[in-house]
Subunit: 224 residues, 2 copies
Amino acid sequence: MSKTIHINVVENILGANDQLAESNEGLLQQSGTLGLNIMASPGAGKTSFIMKTISLLRDQYRIAVIEGDTSAATIDADKVSSLGLPAVQINTGGDCHLDANMVRNGLAKLNLKDLDLVLVENVGNLVCPAAFKLGTHRNILIASVPEGDDKPYKYPAMYSSVDILILNKIDLLPYIPFNMDYFIDGVRILNPNLVTFPVSCLHGTGLEAWNDWVVQELKEYRKG
Amino acid sequence: MSKTIHINVVENILGANDQLAESNEGLLQQSGTLGLNIMASPGAGKTSFIMKTISLLRDQYRIAVIEGDTSAATIDADKVSSLGLPAVQINTGGDCHLDANMVRNGLAKLNLKDLDLVLVENVGNLVCPAAFKLGTHRNILIASVPEGDDKPYKYPAMYSSVDILILNKIDLLPYIPFNMDYFIDGVRILNPNLVTFPVSCLHGTGLEAWNDWVVQELKEYRKG
């Protein structure tokens, strides 16, 4: 039965993946580099959020980006490179998520000792990326208002597994039926202590609070 | 190497899946039921589109829906049931796509001889659903304006594999930087003859053309 074989192999892959993720975490810790894994639906605004985060932090911190894409398209990596920052493009060859081995290959192309922060942009997908640890220190989910207020209820594994939630595109709230209480209730059931930042990357709204959080995180990480 | 094993098993699964998809297609043909596989990102508007399609066609045609979800949440199936139509919920158990075996189990719960149209709502994901044939007659992709104009370039396998493209949420065009020419150019490179319907399910815009297409398709399918 191919179904049974499939499940066993997935378990083996997840076990091997966890080991590589620990190794990645060790590498990042050795160099004092904070790693953030950024996950979202296609089009929720991962790249816009990364570009805004870079513009907020680049004067104080040394940043690189690892871009995961299912195809060879280098649209996102090119945007980061255009800012003069190191960007590594990972083509997953059609896989719907990054895994720890791909990130290990990406980290090997960066001079980690010269970096304070590595932003990892995962493949646009709310299912599989939640299952694959990468060895980054924090998992961030970017939700967006036009995706709808029912997403926590439909993608519970993703909403349960993350440390930070960015709710992007709040500038579209006037034009879309989005019940904020229903959304937040869904988040709280799954992940009661989830730190949430409502933002609009397009208009630059709400990014100060995110900036304060990540600066604090970088300070604490360096002390630890 | 678990990577190599993974790839072999995936090939076996796809081979087995194709056989089951052919069997599903045969089942649908026997009963003269048209099957449509509806794919999209999370939140692009699959369920809204299905609800609108039902309201357009339900006076003339007998319709059922198969709802694929990664969790046990029955939000979408409940919406369809509330209209008094047969709805089968398939919980993929975390898998990021429907496969032909899941759809076979769904079809087995429907009285196909009493149905003209089965709408299959795939899992919200732009990667894996493109690789798994279900045995439906047409593959439909719902894109949405807030996802951004670069999606054809980033998810070429999905955009290449579908027969129909619905561009939803066109009511948000005034509020979002979306270059329609860039989007359409990306679509045309990958899939030159793709039939495209710009719509707003929220405001009911553009749905007449879609209605005409699906009615024509149902008529031709019955003749064939």
